[in-house]
Every structure is written in structure tokens, then in C-alpha cells.
């Protein structure tokens, strides 16, 4: 009986979330739809990062670079090969997933701080590499959709029509990112609640015990890297589609740092928290700018905010939610 209640509650929340996402554009301006689409982009990236860092315990300060891989894949396909922007998304995810897998290989020998340093190095190095191979990447100037392939941009005319339904380009972007976001969220949720999720958590909690129960560390760690890479790649691809341009500076190492902060503030190991994490990294700078327009103020506020959160609420928003709901979930799932 309680199990049925639990499943029912879960389904209700899921339907509610979908309804909320679908309804929001009616409430906000067109401009804000674009911003919320960006929140969706961050959401997708940090859901993937959460699987890697929150659930499998592998620190990555390099996910901005994986986003860049996805973003540039999209840009290259659109400007060089004249693909339609949205059709590049799956391939961008795949390429980033492969790169994520490749990064996962050396990561097998590193952990904790050393892994953070190595992935940080990757994030810092990538912009230089992108500038170097300018034939493909457009070098420092990057690739602009408007210049090179305006015909491939969905909604360049200002409106998009799907199944006879007409909407603004910004609304389209919003629905695109959040549709992908919700599907991606559901996929990760399914992966994590079963065997795989337990294996990932086992690796995070105790590698020795995990091995003793038959968990293949190498296979699972690289898998986690690959999956989170796919998500970052998709996020990067969407990021470029939204902006219609990409340069080496679009994905600086600061982005990698920001993503990790978003995942931690949202709450590692908590999927719902990731929405809050994405909102945090998108809107905190904006809020700080309202407080003071002097240079450096937004960064200062950002820094203070994350320090306070780490001191007062280290498990992030998700941790808070988890603690608040714990009595309920224990009641739902415990037999007397």
C-alpha cells in the first residue's frame, strides 16, 4: 500500500514538473524565455556532472571543456557541412561522450585533488588548442552561424512553426532545452536508481568494498565520464545553438568551475537540486549586478555566497530537501 503511495507521489511530482515547464513561457517575457533556456542548458550539464561527481565521486573541473567539444562539433557541422542546427545535437553529445571516455582513462589512476588538477588542466588547455586548429575552428574569431550558414539556424526569421503551432524563436529555444533537459533527467534518474546507480555510489563510498562486491572500477568510472560527457556535449551544443556563435572564449575555465559550483550548490547526489543549482549559477551574477554595478562586485558576491554555502550547507540545496523529506520517505518505504 505504501509502495503504491510512493509511486503515486512520484508520478504526481513528475507530471507537475512537466506541466510547470510547459506553462512557464506564458508567464514570462520573451526575453526571459531565452534566459530560462540558458538555465536549461546549465541544468543538463550539471545533471551529467552530478552523475560523475555526486554519484561516482570523481571530481571534474573540466566539464566546461566537454561542453566546448559539443559546442564546437555543432558549430563545425553547421558552418562547414551545412547541417541543420538542431540535428547536430545527438552527434555533439556523442563526440563529447567519447572525449569524456578518453579523459576517464587517465582518471583511473588519479583521484581526489589530483583528478581535480588534471581535469582543471584540460579545461585551461582547450581554448589554446581551439585557437591553434583555426582551419576547423575559426581560430580566435570562432564560427558564426549568421555569417556562414544562416539558412541552418532554426527560427532565424524570428518564428518557428512546429506541427502547425507557431512560436517565437526564444520560446522555441526554451522548449527545446527543457524538453531535452527533462528527458535527460529522467534517463539519469532511471540509470541511477538501479544496479548502475548503486555501483556508482559504491565506488564513491568505498572503492575497496566496491571491488569486493564485484564492481569493475575501470569500466564504471570511464562509463560515468562518458555519460557525463554526453550530457555536457548536448548542453554545449544547445549553448551554441542559442547564441548562434562560438569562440574559444565561450567556454573558459571559469565555466568549468561554475558548473562544479552549480552541482555542489544544487546538492551532489540530488537530482532535483540540480534545478536550483542551474538557477543559482545563471542568476546570482545578475542579482549581484543589481546590488552594485561596480566592477568586481558580482564576483565578490559570488565568492562569498559559495563560501557561505559550503560552510553552512555543504550538502547544498538537495541536501536540505533530502533532510526535509527524509521522515516522509522513510515512512513511505519502511515496513513496521
Amino acid at each position: 500500500m505504501r509502495r503504491v503511495l510512493g509511486i503515486g507521489a512520484g508520478a504526481l511530482v513528475a507530471v507537475g514538473a512537466v506541466a510547470l515547464v510547459a506553462f512557464i513561457p506564458r508567464l514570462v517575457s520573451d526575453f526571459h524565455s531565452f534566459d530560462l533556456a540558458l538555465v536549461g542548458v546549465y541544468f543538463i550539464a550539471i545533471v551529467g556532472l552530478n552523475l560523475l561527481t555526486g554519484y561516482t565521486g570523481q571530481i571534474s573541473l573540466g566539464h566546461g571543456a566537454l561542453m566546448a567539444i559539443g559546442g564546437y562539433t555543432t558549430a563545425i557541422l553547421v558552418t562547414h557541412e551545412h547541417w541543420r542546427d538542431v540535428w547536430t545535437i545527438p552527434l555533439a553529445g556523442l563526440v563529447a561522450g567519447v572525449v569524456g571516455f578518453v579523459i576517464g582513462l587517465p582518471a583511473l589512476r588519479l583521484s581526489g585533488l589530483y583528478l581535480a588538477l588534471a581535469t582543471f588542466g584540460f579545461a585551461v588547455a582547450l581554448p589554446s588548442l581551439l585557437k591553434k586548429f583555426s582551419g576547423l575552428t575559426g581560430g580566435t574569431d570562432g564560427l558564426s552561424f549568421f555569417e556562414k550558414a544562416p539558412g541552418q539556424v532554426t527560427g532565424i526569421s524570428g518564428t518557428v512553426t512546429i506541427f502547425g503551432h507557431s512560436m517565437t524563436q526564444n520560446h522555441f529555444f526554451y522548449y527545446l532545452t527543457w524538453a531535452i533537459g527533462l528527458v535527460g533527467f529522467a534517463l539519469v534518474w532511471l540509470i541511477l536508481r538501479g544496479r548502475f546507480g548503486r555501483a556508482f555510489r559504491a565506488i564513491r563510498d568505498s572503492e575497496i568494498a566496491a571491488v569486493s562486491t564485484g564492481v569493475n572500477l575501470a569500466r564504471n568510472k570511464t562509463l560515468a565520464f562518458a555519460i557525463s560527457g554526453v550530457y555536457a556535449g548536448v548542453a554545449g551544443s544547445l549553448f551554441v545553438i542559442l547564441r548562434e556563435i562560438v569562440t574559444p572564449l565561450s567556454f573558459s575555465f571559469l565555466l568549468s568551475i561554475t558548473l562544479l559550483v552549480g552541482a555542489v550548490v544544487g546538492g551532489l547526489g540530488s537530482l532535483p537540486g540540480m534545478v536550483l543549482g542551474a538557477l543559482f549559477i545563471k542568476y546570482l551574477p545578475t542579482v549581484s549586478t543589481h546590488l552594485s554595478t561596480r566592477p568586481g562586485a558580482p564576483d565578490f558576491v559570488f565568492g562569498v555566497a559559495i563560501i557561505l554555502i559550503m560552510i553552512l550547507l555543504p550538502t547544498g540545496a538537495g541536501g536540505l530537501i533530502g533532510r526535509a523529506l527524509k521522515p516522509l520517505t522513510t515512512w513511505l518505504y519502511t515496513r513496521p
Binding site: T53, I59, P106, R109, L110, G112, L113, Y114, A116, L117, A118, G121, F122, V124, A125, L126, S128, L129, K131, K132, I208, I257, L260, V261, V264, L268, R294, P295, G296, A297, P298, D299, F300, V301, F302, G303, V304, A305, I306, I307, M310, I311, P314
Partner: protein, 300 residues
Amino acid sequence: MPLAFDWTQLAQQTVIGLSSGGTWALLALALVLIYRSTGVVNFAQGEMAMFSTFIAWSLVDHGLSYWTAFALTIAISFGGGFAVERVVIRPVERAPVLTVVIVTIGLFFVFNGAARWHWSTETRTLPNAFSTRPIHVAGVAFSIQDLGNIAVSLGMVLLLWLLFRFTKLGLALRAAAVNPGESRLVGIRVSWMLAIGWGLAAAMGGVAGMLAAPALASFDQTFMQPVLLYAFAGAVLGGLDSPLGAVVGSLLLGVFINLIGNYVGWVGNVLKLPVALAVILGVLLVRPEGIFGRPRVRKV
């Protein structure tokens, strides 16, 4: 007739490399000191050094003599580092690695933002500590400034070594870092030791900034960011727990990068940074403890 290998050019490039490495060495030393005394990698070390440098600039701007400003900045930096540890790091001392990493990232933004807020973003200059008049030996040019940087770094290593080996304070610092629980039992005030470690590192960072700034024609709030990256690479190469390694690693890295940049055509200037970072990765994979570090053994 084949061209003879240009040894003078090689020597010159090596010297230039040593000079770059010299500017990174002091910051690398600060990173190692904090890592050794608190087990934390401080992503904000560069920004704290930058902040100290701006304080030095302010003091000079207000009329103090260079060396007075220099000494005062060191003292202020020590105090600042000490305070940061007590206020910000202490609450998360026992937290997992990731939490502390995020906190130091937060410090990065705090110091960066504060520096831009308080001092406007126009560029400034700081006088040199040593003469920059070039000296020529066997056709190779170098300056006293470069030698000065390296000498100061090695001098700091020596001082640290003396401190750790021969003083009660040094012993207490080492004990607190390696085994805080038992150190408390023998009466060592561990929190104070950790704070002193941060203070010393911040002071060293201040010196690093004050010596690095004059080498640039002018500096602004971003000037320590590349230095931090190279300092990380140098410290990892030399061994994150070895002060001597920090200096030697940075010098080696400087030479290596400069030679590669000059002699391997396709690397050029653009790829210098990725090469440095590839070095970090290579070292971490093959010998994570670096050249001078001690391997960590895990007991099951």
C-alpha cells in the same frame, strides 16, 4: 657548409626559461607550503598574491619607500592569510576534499572581485626590487632581476627548511599537518599551526607577486592568473609536498616550455600553456608524487 648548432641561442633561451620559471617558483612554493601544512590546494593563492601586490602598490603610491612597502606588505599578507584560515578554512577543515576545493574557489572570486572593486581596472606599475640592467656573459644576456628572483626563491626554500627542521615552531607545524589528532594530545594548538601555515604561504605569495609584477611592463588584476597555472604545473612536477621541488620544478618547467616553444615549430606561443598542462598530466600519471615528493602508501 652546414650551420653549426647555435649554442649561444640555446643558452639564451634556457636563461629566458629560467627567468620565467623563477617568477613561478615563489608562488609554487606558497602552494606547496599550504598543501603540506593543511593538505589543501589553494586555488586562490594567485589572487591573494595579486591582492598583496596591489596593497604594495598602494603603499608606494602613498609615498612609502619601496623596501618599507615591501616589508609592510609581507606583514599584512601574513596577517591576511592567517585570518583567512581562521575564518573561512577552519569551519571546513574536516570536510571532504571537494568542499574545501569549492571554498578556495570562492576565495578566488572574493579576492579577484575585491581587488577590482577597490582599485579600478587600469594598469599600474611597481618598481623593481633589483636592477634590470642586462648583464652579458658569453653572449648570453640576463638581468640581476632574474637572478634575484631565483635567489629569493632558493633562499625561501632554505629558510623553510631551517624552520621545519630546526625550530620548535617548525616541528609543531609539521606535526599538526601530519597528525592533528595526536598533536593536540601533546599540547600543540593545531588550529594556530594551520593558520600560521596559511599566513606564511600568503606572505610568500605576496613576495611572489611583488617580484613578478615589475617584470611586466604594467600589471592589472589578472596578472597572477597565468602565473598560478604555471606554478601549479611546476609544483606538481617537483612534488606537491616538496618545497625544493616547487622551485626546481618551476625552473625546469620554464626552461622546458621555452625551449619547446622555440625549437618545435608548431608549438609556438599558442600551445605553450597546453604543453605545460600536458606535463602536469604526464607527471600525475607516471609519478604522482613528482620529482622530489614522497610516494603515498595506502594500507588496506
